[in-house]
């Protein structure tokens, strides 16, 4: 059962994805292990465990270990929420996470371990998936729970809202990537199953993005906003992979890495604001630009990174997803144009919240000036690194 042919299909993408835990580790060790983010030794240990599980999954060739640690990571996240969170309804959110994940897990274990036990012992996971459509469908369902597309994302926003800072950094940066990595490694991009549902997936992604852009103006929880933007980006991965071209899977990796680097840092900023100001509302009252210039610069920079300004990884994400969509359908491009334009409009909405209001509600944000001042020069350098690590530069 454990003896399988070592198959690591995209070594470069593995190395590329391994930059994320390095980035998060540096960030946490730089300022995270203070009392701001992680409470005690056990919390730190759990975080280290998630990081090591992630690294192990990426390196190992066994499909069994992949599934095992995938479930274990969800368990660890729930533990972290229980251990570190200060939210009042964390029990409810833990229930929601478990129930949503079980909907994906139970059919998978039923089909792979009970019904076709003999097959699984003799064949590799990829051969199994290639033979029967039901296996592919069930595996896809399992992975799509971890990597949410629209209408499967409810557990993710709930988890982010009730999780603590370090926990949601790890959740956004690492755990969501495992589903994407599984899709890249085990699913078959050329399969007729995906061909039949490809346009449906794209339309769901585009319509959901438009819907989110209009809905988000009503919500003022900053963390909720970052979680939603991460859902918007992540929900593109599976439709792009299902196109079947190499550019699609190429752009998938860019989406994952860009999202892992950017959203984890944005969660860090949210946590800094929350811990020092005891307030997570998005309405800073314009005082942020005056109270802490370094923090407002950081926020502006990472907002721009989020919409994909060129030299960063997120630009590669936008560009390559556009190339991949060219291969699929030109009608979808129309929706994508409006999505990107609306994201820019929303960015300006955020910037007005930071820079433009007149009322001065200075709430304890002076304490983090010293922290973010050193961040501004240290961390933007890191986002350039993956660009030069990978040879995507040579394409241009």
């Amino acid at each position: 059962m454990f003896s399988q042919v070592p198959q690591v299909p995209q070594e470069s993408s593995v190395i590329f994805l391994l930059t994320i835990p390095f980035f998060i580790w540096v960030m946490l060790s730089f300022l995270g292990f203070r009392q701001l983010l992680v409470g005690d030794f056990f919390g730190t240990f759990l975080l280290f465990l998630v990081l090591s599980f992630y690294t192990f999954i990426l390196i190992s060739s066994s499909a069994f270990f992949f599934v095992l640690f995938l479930e274990a990571c969800t368990f660890l996240i729930i533990l972290l929420i229980f251990w570190l969170s200060k939210d009042s309804d964390k029990v409810l959110s833990a229930h929601i996470i478990i129930s949503f994940n079980i909907i994906g897990s139970i059919p998978f274990f039923f089909f792979f371990f009970l019904r076709s036990r003999n097959l699984f012992s003799s064949l590799s996971l990829q051969d199994l998936v290639r033979r029967r459509v039901i296996h592919l469908g069930v595996l896809t369902l399992l992975l799509l729970r971890k990597l949410p597309i629209f209408f499967m994302h409810f557990w993710l926003t709930k988890a982010h809202v009730s999780a603590s800072g370090a926990c949601s950094m790890v959740l956004a940066g690492l755990t969501l990537k495992l589903g994407g990595f599984g899709i890249l490694k085990y699913c078959l991009s050329w399969h007729p199953l995906y061909e039949s549902i490809g346009s449906f997936l794209f339309s769901i992604a585009a319509l959901g993005t438009l819907m989110f852009r209009f809905l988000i103006v009503r919500f003022f929880d900053f963390k909720y906003f970052v979680a939603r933007s991460s859902v918007v980006h992540i929900s593109l991965i599976f439709p792009l992979y299902s196109i079947g071209s190499s550019v699609g899977s190429f752009s998938c990796v860019r989406i994952m890495v860009g999202h892992g680097l950017i959203s984890s840092f944005m969660f860090l900023l949210v946590t800094l604001i929350y811990e020092s100001g005891q307030n997570r509302t998005f309405d800073f009252g314009g005082s942020l630009g005056r109270v802490s210039k370094s923090l407002s610069f950081c926020l502006a920079f990472w907002f721009f990174a989020n919409i994909g300004v060129p030299p960063l990884v997120s630009f590669l994400r936008e560009a390559f997803s556009v190339y991949a969509v060219f291969c699929f359908s030109w009608n979808v491009l129309f929706f994508f144009f409006w999505c990107i334009l609306l994201s820019c409009l929303f960015l300006m909405f955020c910037l007005t919240k930071i820079f433009f209001c007149k009322k001065n509600r200075a709430y304890g944000l002076e304490t983090i000036n010293s922290l973010t001042g050193s961040l501004t020069f240290f961390l933007p350098c890191l986002i350039f690194l993956p660009l030069f690590l990978n040879c995507s530069f040579s394409l241009f």
């Binding site: 300004v309 060129p310 820019c344 241009f396």
Partner: protein
């Protein structure tokens, strides 16, 4: 500020300015294609850049753009020291540097990736500069600018994706098939940055940036980025099939002026003027006159910088009120004369820089669109006349609410207006139309122009000094045209030049063939030296005069 310290600062700045003027203006005058590249390649840089390995590329178009950009930026950064003192200074300077770096990335890009970086960061840094003074108007304006610029970026990404889709080359913008669609997308993209008719509403909105930044945006950076993209892709190949587009969008000739006649904000009027000039450069490009269009960009950049500098001084003198009708002109006589020279230049009168370009475009438009183009130019010219009359009336008008005492930095800051005036006062672009006439005894005229400098060192009114300087510049131009080109060009060649753009082609080769190359370069060096001395003298004169006024008070 103490007088002694103030004087020391002024002299330092003047030395810096003269050096810059000497450097840039003369390179701009002698900027033939191979000449520029030869100068750079002296250190072997060009070979390294253009070897095809790097992401950057140097060519003469980019170099000429670079010269304009760096000249305007240096003038603006000196002007900034008066205009913005203290208020969020470091943020302003950093964003301005980002702005400058991104335009340079755009100019030197060979790969589309590099081009997109410059293109996108131009938009981003510009909105940060627009929201420099945080209030409601700048908020709306920055949102408008960001949405338009980002739309252009997305179209650029789509164009890149299409050219990848149709077949990847090293130069990605020219795919093997489907060229027309890519070119249409690039055209749409360049519309957003150069603010052409359907997508132009952000340019009047962008004037809520500080005035030095408006000078940069309108003269050299943001608007010319769109022009640079057009010149890079060379849409001139499409002019036959795109006549309808040209006709449609050249309605701005009339429209921009008509709006500017009824506008109340001073800076918005200038913004509408920019739209019209940019439109004219685009017509040049469509008709195939690349070098002439670039020359017009230089002229336009210089007088636009001057105009914005004048604007800033008026606002300083007028409680920061931007309403055109309320501007008081009591204590600003020198400024009024500067504005008069600017009107002289925008009208395209003879011996001004824009005369040559406008003459050429009239000729070409008459050749291509016999009825439509000429009637359009007629109405556009008429409206320009009305517009200039409005400006001229403003210079004479009695002030409503004059300031009791002029700001102390006013006189000092006038220097920068003077600098732009002297650089761009009359910009010689060598048209063959004047080579037909021949004049003897050129050297006497040349010497006479230097004699004028000595005359201007005496005690005299400032207006007269400026007039003398401009006269002297006319002599420069004449000597340059008649002494060098009358020998080189034969009458047969002159006939060819009417129908081609090649009159800016290398003179260097001809000199080499005649074996007088080194002698020519020595003469040129001497000429540079004389011009440098002349500039420093004239600027020092004006500065001394200003400082004496300061001391008397």
């Amino acid at each position: 500020m103490e007088v002694k310290n103030f004087r020391a600062i002024v002299f330092k700045k003047i030395f810096y300015l003269t050096f810059l003027l000497f450097l840039f203006r003369n390179t701009l005058i002698f900027s033939y294609s191979s000449d520029l590249l030869w100068g750079v390649n002296f250190w072997g840089i060009t070979n390294w850049f253009n070897s095809g390995r790097g992401t950057f590329k140097l060519d003469w178009v980019a170099l000429r753009f670079l010269l304009i950009v760096s000249l305007v930026t240096s003038i603006v950064s000196l002007y900034r020291e008066i205009y913005i003192q203290g208020y969020q200074l470091s943020r302003f300077v950093r964003t301005k540097i980002l702005f400058f770096i991104s335009i340079i990335l755009l100019l030197f890009s060979d790969r589309p990736f590099c081009l997109i970086i410059g293109w996108d960061w131009l938009g981003v840094s510009s909105i940060f500069l627009i929201m420099f003074y945080p209030n409601k108007i700048t908020m709306y304006n920055s949102i408008l600018t960001m949405v338009y610029n980002r739309g252009g970026d997305i179209v650029l990404i789509l164009a890149l994706g299409l050219s990848v889709f149709f077949g990847l080359n090293r130069r990605v913008f020219f795919p093997s098939s489907g060229l027309i669609i890519v070119l249409i997308l690039l055209l749409l993209c360049s519309l957003t940055k150069r603010a052409q008719f359907p997508l132009s509403s952000w340019l009047p909105a962008a004037i809520s940036a500080p005035t030095p930044i408006s000078a940069m945006v309108h003269s050299s950076t943001l608007v010319t980025a769109g022009l640079y993209l057009v010149s890079k892709v060379s849409l001139a190949a499409l002019d036959r099939s795109w006549r309808w587009f040209l006709a449609f969008s050249s309605l701005r000739f009339v429209g921009g002026r008509a709006i500017a006649l009824f506008e109340l904000d001073f800076k918005k009027i200038v913004a509408f003027s920019t739209m019209r000039q940019i439109r004219m450069v685009i017509v040049f490009f469509y008709l195939g006159f690349l070098a002439l269009g670039l020359g017009h960009i230089v002229v336009h950049a210089l007088f636009k910088t001057l105009l914005f500098c004048c604007c800033g001084f008026y606002f300083l003198n007028n409680y920061s009120d931007q309403l055109f009708a309320k501007i008081s002109t009591k204590n600003t006589s020198l400024l009024n004369s500067l504005l008069f020279f600017r009107i002289f230049r925008i009208r395209g009168l003879i011996f001004s820089g824009s005369f040559f370009t406008k003459d050429k475009i009239l000729e070409a438009l008459y050749f291509h669109f016999p009825f439509y183009g000429v009637s359009l130019l007629f109405w556009g010219g008429l409206l320009t006349l009305l517009y200039c009359a409005r400006f001229a009336r403003q210079t004479i008008k009695a002030s409503l609410h004059p300031l009791e005492e002029t700001p102390k930095s006013y006189k000092y800051s006038l220097l920068f207006g003077l600098a732009t005036l002297i650089v761009g006062r009359i910009f010689p672009i060598f048209t063959p139309t004047l080579v037909v006439f021949r004049i003897n005894n050129l050297e006497t005229i040349f010497l006479f122009s230097f004699f004028l400098v000595l005359v201007s060192m005496k005690k005299m009114d400032l207006k007269i000094k400026i007039f003398l300087l401009s006269v002297q510049d006319i002599f420069y131009m004449k000597t340059l045209i008649f002494s060098r080109f009358s020998r080189i060009l034969s009458p047969i060649k002159v006939k060819e030049f009417f129908h081609s753009d090649s009159f800016l082609s290398p003179s260097l080769i001809i000199l080499k063939r005649e074996k007088t190359f080194w002698a020519g370069s020595f003469l040129r060096f001497c000429f540079y030296l004389l011009v440098f001395i002349d500039y420093s003298f004239s600027l020092m004169n004006v500065a001394l005069k200003l400082l004496k006024c300061e001391d008397k008070k």
